[in-house]
């Protein structure tokens, strides 16, 4: 098993496989914490002073820093090690998944048919997989979210869940749901009179951040869409195993089949930055169509570049160039407020929050943050580091 996949679909790893996974967890921690701190120090002491000497000013934005720092040997090692670590994370979990595949299918079937939890699964064999998924191994995950290797395959779901378990170094919590748990609790406390009866998650993958909303709003009917059939099959069985009823649908978030004004809350978690600009705009419009008047759209995401200083912009945008997430920077260059208003949401209904991680700060700090939103983003926002905070934006309809 991997450390944070302990539900009904957990897999058994051999001792050498566990050691490889442990190594990757600590190696990731080394590159994302120790090396990242080292790179900032080198930037502050050498790279920025040299830039100022030549240009008589500080770098204006992340692009200027990137252009300068990419010649630095430490940056090259940081980037090379980080890319390799990302690939090795996924490779470290593939052998036990392959060995467990038939067993996983059986377990998934049993869980899916279980009457204890009333979730459902709707696969659309005719759905066209968008190029942003089909043409790229997003975040260096071989096979992305959609590849199918056998009938009723769920291996890409297992690869994502177990890969993220190693990748996240504990920052996503024991159930990989820290983002969903932190933000759903925040929304419940911030808006006590908002009691959504129907909720939709867009781009849900294995539903790890969908589940907390079902726990925070147990009376709500929850739906979740994604284009990848394997992640949905896996996510459905995973949700059943956790005892949360969720209805999973293979649909494109840009154009769903749900009726107008049919949801009270439409949200996504770390989804939009994997979608091209045109698709993002369409998804926001679709969310508006689906929301009932008085409903809330919310996207848990990486903070926009306009809220960050040049170094942190450069640092976060690294993924766009080297982690096979080409839409990451274009998304972060967008103005969330404008994206919402362009889709027809009223400007005065726009919301954005910076919320402490429930795993690192606990419930009390989240409740405290309800009335102490400063709007300040810093180098702990959306970044694997001590004191991590999550950013989200959206709008009321």
């Amino acid at each position: 098993m991997t450390k944070y996949v302990q539900h009904g679909l957990k897999i058994k790893s051999k001792p050498d496989e566990i050691a490889r996974q442990n190594f990757m967890l600590n190696m990731r921690s080394y590159v994302m914490l120790d090396m990242a701190t080292g790179m900032k120090k080198i930037y502050d002491h050498n790279i920025e002073p040299n830039f100022k000497k030549i240009n008589k000013r500080k770098p204006k934005n992340g692009d200027e820093i990137h252009k300068t720092i990419k010649k630095n040997t430490y940056f090259k090692f940081y980037s090379s090690i980080r890319c390799n670590a990302q690939e090795m994370v996924f490779r470290s979990v593939i052998p036990p998944i392959e060995r467990s595949m038939q067993d996983l299918k059986k377990k998934a079937k049993l869980l899916s048919n279980s009457k204890k939890t009333q979730g459902s699964l709707h696969i659309d064999r005719n759905l066209t997989i968008p190029k942003s998924v089909s043409a790229i191994d997003v975040h260096l995950m071989p096979g992305c979210y959609h590849s199918e290797h056998s009938e009723s395959d769920l291996s890409q779901g297992a690869l994502y869940d177990n890969g993220v378990s190693v990748f996240s170094m504990g920052f996503f919590g024991d159930k990989l749901d820290d983002i969903g748990s932190s933000i759903s609790l925040f929304i419940k406390k911030k808006y006590p009179n908002f009691k959504p009866l129907k909720i939709l998650d867009l781009g849900c993958t294995v539903g790890h951040n969908t589940l907390p909303w079902g726990q925070v709003y147990p009376k709500s009917e929850i739906h979740a869409v994604d284009v990848g059939a394997p992640v949905l099959r896996y996510g459905h069985a995973r949700a059943q195993s956790e005892g949360v009823s969720i209805h999973f649908h293979q649909q494109n978030a840009e154009k769903t089949t749900f009726e107008d004004n049919s949801f009270d809350l439409v949200f996504s978690s770390m989804f939009l930055h994997e979608v091209p600009k045109k698709g993002i705009k369409q998804i926001i419009k679709e969310a508006k169509r689906l929301l009932r008047p008085g409903g809330l759209m919310l996207h848990m995401e990486l903070p926009p570049n306009k809220m960050l200083d040049p170094y942190n912009s450069f640092y976060l945008d690294w993924d766009s160039y080297y982690n096979k997430e080409p839409f990451y920077k274009p998304f972060r260059d967008m103005n969330p407020e404008e994206v919402c208003s362009d889709a027809g949401f009223s400007k005065n209904k726009f919301v954005q929050f910076i919320i402490p991680s429930i795993g690192q700060f606990g419930k009390k700090e989240i409740i405290k943050s309800v009335n102490s939103q400063t709007g300040n983003v810093d180098d702990r926002t959306g970044r694997f580091t001590k004191g991590i905070h999550w950013y989200c934006f959206g709008s009321w309809k």
Partner: protein, 112 residues
């Protein structure tokens, strides 16, 4: 689709990022990381064997595969792993520490 096709792809498709101008350095980093990982496997398995031997006095394959470290042992092992990584990649830490020491270092005599 037959069950023989039931293989997850190990490699990432598409263009690979390259960071070093000199030919082969990017590949060398990948190889070094895999070697470090495999060395860690040996170290962790040795630790496992040592703990198991102390606990049981004899070994069977089943015992080996079912053994789990205690929380205390795992904490110690994680620390050991971090120290190990730091040793393997010491040259990188050194380049950061040089930031502090480089200012007062006397200049090197010109190379003839």
């Amino acid at each position: 689709m037959s069950e023989s096709d039931n293989k997850i792809r190990y490699s990432v498709r598409g263009k690979k990022s390259r960071f070093f101008e000199s030919d082969g350095v990017d590949e060398l980093v990948a190889i070094c990381m895999s070697m470090a990982q495999e060395l860690w496997v040996v170290k962790e398995e040795l630790a496992l064997l040592k703990n198991l031997t102390m606990k049981k006095g004899l070994l069977t394959r089943k015992e080996l595969e079912n053994f789990k470290f205690t929380i205390k042992q795992k904490t110690e092992l994680d620390k050991d792993n971090k120290d190990f990584i730091d040793r393997v990649f010491f040259t990188l830490r050194e380049s950061v520490e040089a930031v502090d020491s480089s200012h007062d270092e006397p200049p090197t005599p010109p190379i003839p």
